[in-house]
Symmetry: C2
Subunit: 320 residues, 2 copies
């Protein structure tokens, strides 16, 4: 099933969010606008706006109000991608050269800062101190996570909880905040906003684990970058942690560094896939997904809840 | 006169702001906290907090409320310094190694992001949508300016207005916003907040021009970095633009690049100082300062106004 078809319900509003995103970046002349448009046009699933819009259905849904939150969260996400590419020294994202590769690290730093600032500008349209607090705390945590990500690179002795904390900060937090902020901005009760927060958290954990698995099982065409890129860049993900339990595979993995060549990498990937690492990773992703789905049952039954259910299954189970 | 002695009036509240700044960065463990503390302890004039506190005196001064704005603006300033050092490839600031020099460009990028996020967290304490809007728009403009700064490097044919727009975005905007936000957060009338905004703008312009002059006239000890560093890094400042009017000096200046050695740089600096560039630069700085002081006359007379007057003179005329 295609993701788009799933939310025809919301398609008009999502199209309007897309237009707002494009208008925001097109309003900027020169290289900054060009870089932002480059990033926007590379696509993406717009998962954060979708969660914002759906969560807002649990309150008084007013698109003119909620659109600012949806646009703001996608802009923050885009900003973090640009900075991540600097951290990861990544040259390709979604099959296109990254901003840092096409321009420079410095330029990428400022493009990220700029997108981030534009996102604040949108959030400032919202007269809700509580929403500002939630967002600010989320961003602080996301930044903390990025620093840890640098520190944890090529650290093959890190415990599972270090990985889980990292993906929480890298992915789950912003999805959780999208759900919570969508609900809060629509004036949904705090209890509902909290459940949606944890729903977003569990979906986000499942989503990132799936993403980390796909780095091993996907093709270069599907991934828009070579398979195994995460490991090559030193990101110790869940399949890697599980595969390290196998002593022979462990030796191969710990020898990986930025200079490992294509053939060697292919051998390491093949070795990892021969262990039970992928299977165990899917099992953990599924456990998070189940927690997310259970939480949904505690929310009022409506069309948005059904869509959140389908969406959670879609992004937890996707194969590209 | 020492800046400190000038605002004994505010010294308790400023000391409390300093404590809050230190507590904010000390609350972070690991390299992130270490880097932020390194930056904080390098000192600085805390000009933005001073302007916030003084401007708040034109409304209902409540330190427990206004301190969030003062801390937030200094944190934003610190964040922008860290990112500027990446842009400028600067190894020394205020006589200490920069974060990018001591750690790395990537780490500096995230330290900046983190400080910026902590600043938002503080601002979120303030229940004022108008203040959030002002701040967001300021940050968007500051980011635009940073990109221009990259683009304008070593461009010796740029017109004066390009330089003025750049220093407006680099310095004057955040000082103007400090004045405006201090007033707004204290519930001062919009007209007063607007005058304070323009006061801050003119002071900021004068401040940055003086800073750009000091890069030529200061000693390495005073500057905490070698004289002429700005020019060497390709920043085309006001004294450079004026000196370019002299055909012989022009040839020397346009030959400068990142690899120009110490002796050559000394010759270029000496040549610039023999023109009327420094004098003309001081004249323009003075014109901005006069505009700032004239605006103060339109504000209610109080102790804060007297201090703003002295402070403007101090930072527009300083010789270090």
């Amino acid at each position: 099933m295609k993701l788009k078809a799933m939310y025809s319900f919301l398609s008009d509003d999502l199209a309007a969010v897309e237009e707002e995103l494009e208008r925001t970046v097109r309003s900027e002349y020169g290289p900054l606008g060009e870089a932002a448009l480059h990033l926007l046009q590379a696509g993406g699933k717009r998962i954060r706006p979708v969660f914002v819009l759906l969560s807002a259905r649990f309150g008084h849904y007013d698109f003119e109000r909620i659109k600012h939150v949806a646009v703001a969260l996608e802009l923050i996400h885009m900003a973090s991608l640009v900075h991540d590419d600097v951290i990861d020294d990544a040259d390709v994202r979604r099959g296109r050269p990254t901003i840092k590769a096409r321009w420079s690290n410095r330029f990428a730093m400022y493009t990220g800062d700029y997108l981030f600032a534009r996102s604040l500008e949108r959030m400032a349209e919202l007269d809700s101190p509580r929403a500002h607090q939630v967002l600010a705390k989320t961003i602080v945590e996301v930044c903390r996570g990025e620093i840890e990500q640098i520190k944890d690179k090529y650290r093959f002795d890190q415990p599972l909880r270090t990985y889980l904390r990292r993906i929480r900060r890298k992915t789950a937090l912003l999805i959780a905040a999208s759900c919570q902020l969508g609900a809060l901005a629509a004036g949904a009760p705090e209890a509902v906003a909290n459940r949606l927060y944890w729903f977003g958290h569990y979906v986000g954990m499942s989503f990132q684990i799936t993403d980390d698995i796909l780095d091993f099982t996907g093709t270069e065409e599907q991934l828009g970058k070579p398979a195994g890129s995460d490991l090559q860049q030193g990101n110790v993900t869940l399949p890697v942690l599980y595969a390290l339990c196998d002593e022979q595979v462990r030796a191969k993995i710990t020898a990986v560094n930025a200079d490992t060549d294509v053939e060697e990498m292919a051998a390491v990937l093949a070795a990892i896939k021969q262990t039970d690492a992928i299977e165990r990773s899917y099992a953990l992703s599924d456990r998070y997904l189940e927690k997310a789905l259970r939480l949904l049952n505690e929310l009022p039954a409506n069309e948005a809840r059904t869509l959140l259910h389908d969406l959670a299954l879609y992004i937890g189970k996707r194969d590209y």
